[in-house]
Amino acid sequence: MNGCAMTAACWFQPLLLLLLAPLIQGCARKLKACLQNRTGASVLQPYWDLLKNLRKEEVLSETASPVMRAAPYAAFSATFLACFLVPVLFTASPLGFAGDMIALVYLLALPRFFMALAGLDAGSAFGGMGSSREMMISSAAEPALVMVLFSAAVRAGSTGASETAAALAAGGPSVLGPGLALGFIALFLVALAECGRLPVDNPATHLELTMVHEAMILEHSGRSLALLELASSLKLTLFLTLLANLFIPWGMAGGTEPGAAALSAVAFLLKLGALVVTLSVVETSTAKLRLFRVPDFLGIAFVLALLGLLSEGILRLGL
């Protein structure tokens, strides 16, 4: 297999995530609807919503500065860039040489920074509320996320996402350990908070006063809204991909042989499907937390991640 095909295949991965993102969101919504005895919209609805919003005129608040206009582009491009750092079907990622998982954390923080600014910028009371809540949540979510990624990195001996995924995929049964399970649960909890899912934030609410993510983007419309929606569904897909590839490390292809690649694609889609089902069931079976309980919730994620890290340390490094 020549390097050229490998490179092309690698570059195809972020694009795959981008194309899949609305479908993942549509599937999660459809599943939740079914679990709630509703019919729900088609799983393709997010695509139509995106197309609709892209065609629509954009209305901007009179008090808005260029920050408001720039935020959707910044948020989307940073999220999309983050996709270039993670392995999807193959253990290699297109920009894996340029940034490791720490860079990934910061690339995910960048959209939040811009969206929080835009929320304040629009001059509506809800935007400011959303921004302040998002900052509160992320200040608890980020340490937990870093800790989870470290626990995976310790197992592989590298903070690079590709190396970690490769080491895990190659490691066979020896990667199994308490750290894997603890890390998986911790990252799942962080994903719920980071992606604005129940029980931290309710993506389907119409109550302005309880919103977090929705409150920040309340003033956006048209193309800006489309980009922000796409960015947030991409973020969800990215987190599910991390869960699938760092903590369920089976079936990933090391090279680009057609057979291995096909197997890897099937395994990836199966894992994503299972994660979406889990997400929907969790979201259906729990009510939203009181806002001030969210730090406790993320504290649990942090402690689990820390325990995972320690157990890895004890098992692998003999500390």
């Binding site: 939740k32 005895n37 302040s132 119409h206 109550l207 302005e208 309880t210 259906t284 009510a287 001030f292």
Partner: protein
């Protein structure tokens, strides 16, 4: 005047007489009714209606206020629950409550020309909007470092009625909340003037959609009291059945709303399914899901046949079994119960001082239920247990409604068994002129209609007091010490009607 007991006093003794009544145990100011009598006696008459549940009656103090100088001593400094009623009297009749602490308008917004009082008999509809809008409404300001105002509404992100909420917050905790309502003022009381009873009944049913039957019932009972008519026994029993059917679907919807607002749509969907079944049953029984058009002055327009009653009983048994299952889902979902317990607590003292009614008052330990204390329809024979809790929080309001749901199912089943045979309507004939009070315990609490008829049997004054009008001020107290994201949940636990408040 047939009912309630009326005591007419001179203007300067009005406040004193009211304070005497207000000081009696369990006494609650239920309504303040103003009538414009200037064409007969050159005076306005103001009636303070008190509910005396311990004596099983309403009592009323009235005074004439001269048309040229319609001022009176405000009762608000002594009875906080009088505040909104007196502001309403000032706005709609131009009366002057001396010593009232709040000079702001209540329901008529800035675009109404100043000095227009729509419920005066000589009122001519002005051109709206006014040439010079009155000064902007002055919200209470909270100063201090880090205190922000959050204006919410009147247009909301969801499909709900319009209301404006002004929060003063320091971070997330709420320091102060002010409401501004009146966005759906329809002038129903004015529209009712000059109409005959059937027409006015149709209007009364439209005060608040989900309490159509209760409002209609209160209206009919007032009309029947004026006419001195006896309603046939079967009609009284049927009225109790329909009244409880209304309570069933309302309480199911209210409990579902709690689940929606804590982000537990699974539980909400299950409860809404039950509500829909009740609504469909209502539609099948009488042709209207919200039970409109069932009532007429003198009885009800339709009977329940034997098979229909048996079917209804079987339906209720299935409904209760399903409800028990869904209720258990609610009680066993810790994340839901954690959100509702301790949230939005209202003390008994606040509920009593503000004159709260219905399940909201009962959840705060106020042991009042019109169906038991001042029975109408067939409730005296049925015997109602009032469902009371002490905590006063969102959970208590939810649990009171759940308990009332069970009580309603059992009331309907008993009524279907015990209902006597006979006609279900009597002719009212030409009613004499006069006035009377009609009441009903709607799902939200006390509905009070003051009806006055002229010599032609036409409505000369209809004063509607909805339970929402009594309970909205509770919300300001319920949110104290809570955080902004819990407000929608607290609001939903009261589930008050904007339309009923604004009329």
């Amino acid at each position: 005047m047939v009912d309630p007991e009326l005591q007419t006093v001179p203007r300067d003794r009005l406040a004193a007489a009211c304070r005497t009544l207000a000081g009696r145990t369990g006494s609650r100011l239920a309504s303040v009714v103003v009538t414009d009598e200037r064409s007969f006696s050159d005076a306005f008459t103001i009636h303070y209606v008190f509910s005396l549940p311990k004596d099983h009656r309403y009592a009323c103090v009235a005074a004439d206020l001269p048309g040229k100088d319609p001022c009176f001593a405000s009762l608000t400094p002594f009875v906080p629950g009088a505040s909104l009623f007196e502001r309403e009297a000032r706005e709609f009749f131009g009366l002057v409550p001396l010593g009232h602490p709040d000079p702001r308008p209540l329901l008529l917004h800035e675009l109404w020309p100043q000095g227009t009082h729509p419920l005066r008999r000589d009122f001519k509809a002005p051109a709206l909007p006014a040439a010079s809008p009155s000064a902007a409404y002055a919200f209470q300001r909270v100063g201090g470092e880090g205190v922000f105002e959050i204006p919410v509404g009147p247009v909301h992100a969801g499909i709900i009625e319009p209301g404006h909420f002004r929060f003063s917050v320091a971070g997330e905790p709420i320091i102060n909340l002010e409401l501004r309502l009146g966005w759906v003022h329809k002038g129903i009381e004015k529209h009712a003037e000059g109409r005959n009873l059937p027409e006015a009944l149709r209007l009364a049913e439209r005060v608040s959609g989900d309490a159509s039957f209760s409002h209609g019932l209160a209206f009919c009972q007032a009309a029947e009291r004026i006419a001195g008519a006896q309603v046939p026994p079967r009609a009284r029993w049927l009225r109790a059945v329909f009244g409880e059917l209304e309570r069933l679907y309302n309480h199911l919807g209210d409990i579902a709303g709690i689940a929606t607002d804590v982000g537990f749509p699974f539980g909400a969907a299950q409860m809404l399914l039950l509500r829909e079944r009740v609504l469909q049953r209502n539609g099948a029984l009488c042709g209207h899901r919200l039970l409109r058009g069932v009532l007429r002055p003198g009885g009800v327009v339709m009977d329940l046949s034997g098979p229909a009653a048996a079917e209804l009983k079987a339906f209720l048994a299935r409904l209760l079994a399903d409800f028990t299952e869904v209720e258990r889902l609610y009680l066993e979902t810790d994340s839901l119960m954690d959100r509702v317990e301790g949230t939005g607590a209202v003390s008994k003292r606040v509920a009593e001082d503000l004159g709260a009614v219905g399940p909201a008052a009962r959840a705060s330990g106020v042991d009042e239920d019109l169906r038991r204390d001042q029975p109408y329809a067939a409730y005296a024979e049925l015997g109602v247990q009032a469902q009371v809790r002490e905590e006063g929080d969102v959970a208590a309001r939810m649990l009171v409604k759940a308990a009332e749901f069970r009580e309603s199912v059992s009331l309907i089943s008993r009524a279907l068994d015990l209902m006597p045979e006979g006609p279900c309507s009597a002719e009212l004939g030409a009613p004499p002129s006069g006035s009377a009070l009609g009441w009903a315990e709607s799902p939200r609490g006390e509905v009070l209609h003051w009806l006055a008829l002229d010599a032609q049997g036409r409505v000369s004054r209809l004063k509607v007091k909805s339970p929402s009008f009594s309970n909205w001020p509770l919300l300001n107290w319920a949110v104290q010490g809570n955080i902004v994201p819990d407000f929608p949940l607290i609001n939903k636990s009261f589930n008050l009607s904007y339309s009923g408040n604004d009329r």
